[in-house]
Symmetry: C2
Subunit: 640 residues, 2 copies
């Protein structure tokens, strides 16, 4: 194994490709701030673990990395993408820290920055950014998680005292799973139904102090502990109940909705639905960070499992004296290599969406509809990529655990911690299934403009009330993509880029079209929007997945153009990725006459062959992840 990181080299062309635009931030995270973190210990009590993670959070704050994404006025450098990259680098090392940091900077400070106005920024942002003021993002309730619009907590304006009364009217209105709540948080961004003068204005966010200077809950605030979790036990998740807690009028984060002293409500966004989605649009950063951290956890798991597979031997070679390396078994290659190349695909798609968001936030389009369209497109990309990446991490880390046998079950070999910590990623920051539905509904809404009568029948109400439609998204570099997909024309056809991407596009298009037709048919028949929606739910999820898969493949292909030094290798990596994806869905392609029986078998054989061809390149492929040796503590992954 090379140890390029230690040698201060640039890590080679593949690593440069993966590191992308924020390579320097990644190197700062690698070489400085995280080095002194000792390996995680698996025998800490919950309280010990929380104390350790709080200490690490303070170290991370002191490193200056978390402030990168914020405005210079509050100590940052306004590098949105860089700030997010700094966060996702924690996925390589300590997921509890990553999540607690995500709560503090991404959600808590992020919400103050995005939803508040200058007085909130001046009052709290510097303290929050420097980690002097720890906070919570109190959105989810016991009764409502995915359906945030139905939150029950109320914030009722009292013009007599110019205060909001924050209250949990029912047991299910209790704020739940809130990070930083059980132990460390002092101030919470609380999402509640805003009521002034008897009128409801939908969900808004307010700043509510939950603990006093000594750390005791404030009057009217009851905090309990969510206790032990599958993983992430360094994060203090808790539950908060508000009993008529009064906060001043200026506690309202009022960028998108304001309440005057007399209780008059104003907003620049007329539709309450659109206002709501504008406000929670800030969640997009969290989703992207989770996707990146999940990918990084998968990279560490693959590094461990591949190194083990390159060192461990079992069963003598028939007719020979030596034993066979695990990674020389075709079955073992089949488990690890498609996961390895898919990690490349998702990482490069992640870099793409990071850059899009960075551009959108630092140099937004002048045109308002254009800006909104870009926002929706990025939200859709982020939702799809988050779902794909977190499921990929869950599956891949599990595969790696199994590929290491009993050794993979030992805490010292890190995989158990990675597995347990990342497990919740598939259902938090937006449940994957719910996110894919949003993506799917967006596709359908866009498509529905071609069916005048759809709207009449109530599709809009059924499927689009939670998601503003977005136009067909644009690849950032359509020209590059067109050139790359035409470049080949090679034999066999299945290695032809145009054929590969054409298949992915065709599937997406067909799924969306037939989804719309099925819904139209259903609605015409039974006029029940829910029944119509429910009957096609698996179809909707498939359409959304197909859409996200196609986007990932396009981002990957476009990125390969930036690494001519390893073009041949990347060609094979891309082939294995896209053919594995087609192989996984080949039943669909067969059912819809997109491929013949013979072609389907050809794809399986090509995946087999590519696994074998890429086997010697595995050390280079995992080295390019650029994980410092000091972070790869697993004994089974130590260089022989």
């Amino acid at each position: 194994m090379t140890t390029e990181t230690e040698q201060g080299s640039d890590g080679g062309p593949l690593r440069r490709l993966l590191d992308g635009r924020w390579a320097e931030i990644r190197d700062r995270a690698r070489s400085l701030e995280l080095k002194r973190f000792d390996p995680p210990s698996y025998d800490l009590s919950t309280e010990q673990h929380r104390a350790r993670i709080l200490h690490r959070l303070e170290e991370f704050a002191a490193s200056g990395l978390p402030r990168i994404g914020f405005e210079p006025a509050y100590g940052g450098v306004g590098d949105v993408g860089g700030g997010m990259v700094a966060m996702e680098m924690l996925g390589f090392r300590d997921l509890s820290l990553m999540v607690k940091a995500g709560v503090q900077w991404g959600l808590f400070a992020g919400a103050i920055a995005a939803l508040g106005t200058e007085r909130h920024h001046r009052a709290h942002l510097a303290d929050a950014i420097e980690g002097r003021l720890l906070g919570c993002f109190a959105m989810t309730e016991t009764g409502h998680g995915s359906d945030v619009q139905s939150l029950e907590t109320t914030a009722t304006y009292d013009p007599a005292t110019e205060e909001f009364v924050v209250d949990s009217p029912t047991p299910s209105a209790r704020k739940d799973y809130i990070g930083n709540a059980a132990r460390d948080g002092r101030l919470a961004v609380v999402f509640a139904q805003l009521i002034t003068g008897g009128a409801e204005h939908g969900v808004h966010a307010l700043l509510v102090p939950i603990r006093d200077e000594t750390g005791n809950p404030r009057p009217g605030v009851t905090i309990t502990d969510c206790g032990r979790k599958a993983g992430l036990n360094g994060v203090d998740n808790g539950r908060i109940v508000f009993d008529q807690v009064r906060v001043p009028r200026d506690a309202l984060l009022d960028r998108y909705g304001q309440v005057a002293a007399d209780g008059t409500y104003t907003s620049s966004i007329e539709s309450s639905g659109r206002r709501f989605f504008t406000m929670i649009g800030t969640l997009v950063r969290g989703r992207i960070s989770v996707a990146g951290s999940a990918q990084n956890a998968a990279k560490l798991a693959l590094t461990i499992a591949c190194r083990h597979g390159l060192a461990r031997r079992q069963f003598p070679r028939p007719g020979g004296a030596d034993e066979v390396l695990l990674l020389d078994y075709r079955g073992h290659q089949r488990r690890l290599l498609p996961a390895l190349v898919r990690t490349y695909a998702l990482s490069l798609a992640q870099n793409d969406v990071l850059e899009r968001l960075h551009e959108h936030l630092t140099a937004p389009a002048a045109d308002e509809p254009e800006r909104e369209r870009t926002q929706r497109e990025i939200e859709s990309r982020a939702a799809g990529l988050k779902a794909l990446s977190t499921w990929h991490a869950t599956r891949t880390i599990q595969t790696c655990r199994e590929a290491c046998g009993g050794a993979g079950y030992l805490a010292e070999n890190v995989l158990p911690q990675l597995r347990a910590d990342t497990d919740v990623f598939t259902t938090f920051e937006g449940d994957n299934t719910v996110l894919l539905q949003l993506v799917g509904k967006g596709l359908l809404t866009d498509y529905s403009s071609q069916f005048e009568d759809l709207d009449v029948l109530g599709v809009a109400r059924a499927v689009a009330d939670q998601f503003v439609g977005f136009a067909i998204e644009r690849a950032v570099n359509r020209g590059v993509l067109e050139r790359l997909r035409r470049r080949r024309g090679v034999q066999p056809e299945i290695r032809d880029r145009d054929w590969q991407l054409g298949l992915l596009e065709d599937r997406e298009k067909h799924l969306v079209e037939t989804l719309a037709l099925r819904m139209r048919g259903r609605l015409a028949r039974d006029k029940d929007p829910f029944a119509a929606f429910n009957a096609v739910q698996p179809h909707l999820l498939a359409a959304a997945s197909a859409h996200a898969e196609r986007q990932v493949a396009e981002s990957f292909l476009a990125a390969t153009d930036r690494c001519p030094e390893r073009a041949d290798l990347l060609d094979q990596v891309f082939d294995l990725h896209v053919l594995s994806a087609i192989e996984a869905d080949r039943a669909w392609y067969l059912e819809h006459n997109r491929i013949s029986d013979a072609r389907s078998k050809e794809i399986i054989a090509a995946v087999d062959d590519l696994c074998e061809q890429l086997r010697p390149q595995v050390p280079e492929l995992i080295d390019a992840f650029g994980i410092p040796e000091a972070w790869i503590t697993a004994p089974i992954a130590q260089p022989g």
Copy 2:
């Protein structure tokens, strides 16, 4: 939810079906011995957890359940199946206890009973069975786990002192992951290469004391701790190194191989390979117990997730005021219902293999070749069922966790513990991939008798040297099966039993035949047995899975005959199971022209419809698992 268990009722026809022949043992486990176990705590230190599980082990011993499977002479009642059922019932409640009990009674005491002779039984069996003598099963080494024949530990006979010298000659010869080793074990069954007079006789087992009365390691024995694991932290796994440890000649468990005072080796089994596989044939019980425990853990997970899905609502129904129950979403049904019915299939196949083993051990065939054939067949069934059941448990518990969202991530809701504890089941007691290879090689060996030239080309050496071939196995009740599969002839054809099972059989047959042909072709071409074997490894694994799937479906169908009261419901449950299984492999059926495109889509639609039809029966289906309310501690699973 009904609480039939508490009411002392028999739990209804479905529960009687699932409980099967050993219903009374299951009820003893339900109503008596396990009731006083308090819920698992997730914030115990490793040492506290181990101490608790040791205490529970003593309680379990005192219940008398573990002794059921042993001979009356040593306190048992000779009920092999009953003893195994008692063990797998622990899978409902405490997997650490199940595994520690499995080590103590299944492996340690079981090996003394199966591999030892009367003097070993008299000396140790009563103490082992009553839990007064705790022991280890020291087979796996750091360097060799799946390939037990290549173990490096040696037991060299010294005729001068009439002793064996047990030694770990290399670092990789260290015994590893050994349950009961780190803390509680006093005596170990040690597997080692037996050497007398300079000749090697292969792997044999010896009794080696590893700790003295005060709990300190014996001279020459070095014990270290495997430390924290992903789960099962109540089990004290450790590592053992032997430095020229001397044990008396009668320490050899000599049922299948004896060493005389002068060092002369004798055995009734001439072939060392056959002797080895006879000895490790005792592992079959452990595999069956693991399969059953995995199924039971999946049942508990499904009970929790289904109850949650029947209580939790999210998102308002379009056009209505009420919110929709999670289990009314098609997507949610699709996640849980196929897993639920597959759990029925695996459980009934489990009962089948338990009965076969029980009959085989308590009333063996008089004819020796017949006995051996039955043994091999049961080993193959157990291997396939263990692989299918443990992968099913891993996937299902994960699905249940995700289906419960953030609540599923909290330790109080039990799913995290179930997930972490059962995780290692896919790779211990035989790695699933290795077990499927054994199943596949068995099929091939059997098949190869039809190809005279295969042997010439070395297939036998390449694929069969680890597994004695077995003839096509016989369903216990072929008559019942034939009647059941002919009974229908219904429309649509895909609900016809004969069509369904025919498809599974056809796939298995085709995969085995083409596997043999591919290997023959490969060998003719490159004459390298390893390359030939390796190229078809994924094919081999697919053939083995297809074989096991077909067996499970047959066992399930035959079992439905014993529950006429709920014949209609079981018809649907079976349909959903078998059509889901076909749906999962439909790419293969399409590629091989076994089904048309239209038929394939018809299958998908039928799975959708069956999920909807079975949705109202979910409470009855989970109640039939017969899990006492007191064991379902998850707050999200409490009856509303």
